[in-house]
Amino acid sequence: MELTFQQLVFYGFSTLLLLSALMVILSRNSVKAVMFLVLCFVATSGLWMLLQAEFLAVALVLVYVGAVMVLFLFVVMMLDIDIAARRHGFTKLLPLALLVAIAFLFILHWLVGDNHFGLEQMEAPSDHDASYSNIRELGKMLYTDYFYPFELAAVILLVAMVAAISLTFRGKRSRKSQDIDKQVRVTKADRLRVIKMESSSSSQQTDSKSDEESNENKDKEQDK
């Protein structure tokens, strides 16, 4: 069996993918596990590139490696993981875990095995020439034939946005901070209050009383 260069690259990326995926579940340090997951995505991107899906390969690096893994790191760092507590009960749950793993393996084989995704069902993509643009083909399909799923994607993103805010947003904080806009826009009336004082002569008692009342009203207004 002779290896072509493409096959060599494929086996290289596949090996990298499998090894890093193994390290994700084997490494004790959860931050390291996330880093291996990043490596997984990079290797997958290489495989997608071999399938001639150039835009998806680049988007995988851009979105998953660039953004989603940042989120994963945040989540890992936000959790206070106690390794000793996690190991507790490992042997007790091992049979159940093995059962779930084997069942999962069979389901996976049934779903994406040869009967659905074999070379008979899905042909290997033909080689395109150098001027072929995958992103162009994708754009022509996505915004015309598949516009409805595309709009649904927007709705899902909207739901994700609202969900993230309602789950993690704890309300505005009432911290006292300097608001320069407000300081600049201040007028004389905001800061200065002229109060009529009672004059020393007691001849105009009634007038001054009414003045005082109006001043008090003004004070209340200011307080509001």
Binding site: L62, G139, K140, Y143, F150, V155, L158, M161, I165
Partner: protein, 118 residues
């Protein structure tokens, strides 16, 4: 098509080789005499106050998740921009609806104050 990406593969190999090679050279040629003082965590001369892995504010998470959502939105804009001339008004309307839906979310988070850091 794939031959366009050969330089990237070469770069990956080069980067991998350089990274691993230099590390290896340092590992083989460098002196390695660890002792207790060298292996202890160092923080400006005094003992480390706490574990480097501390819990932090959930607001960082909120900013990260909002970033991801808009990152995805931008990723959808790229193919659209490439075939913009061929799509015609239908494509423009499709993208307008897509953006309008996300602007609803943007206004929501803005008014809610989720973008305020203080």
């Amino acid at each position: 098509m794939l031959e366009n990406y050969l330089p990237i593969l070469v770069f990956i190999m080069l980067g991998l080789g350089l990274g691993v090679g230099l590390e290896l050279v340092g590992f083989i040629l460098g002196k390695n005499k660890p002792d207790d003082a060298k292996n202890s965590p160092f923080e400006c001369g005094f003992d480390a106050f706490e574990d480097s892995r501390s819990k932090f504010d959930v607001r960082f998470y909120l900013v990260a998740i909002l970033f991801i959502i808009f990152d995805l939105e931008i990723a959808f804009l790229f193919p659209w921009a490439v075939v913009f001339n061929e799509l015609g008004w239908f494509g423009v309307t499709t993208m307008a609806v897509f953006l309008a839906l996300l602007v609803v979310g943007f206004i929501y988070e803005w008014k809610k104050g989720a973008l305020e850091w203080e």
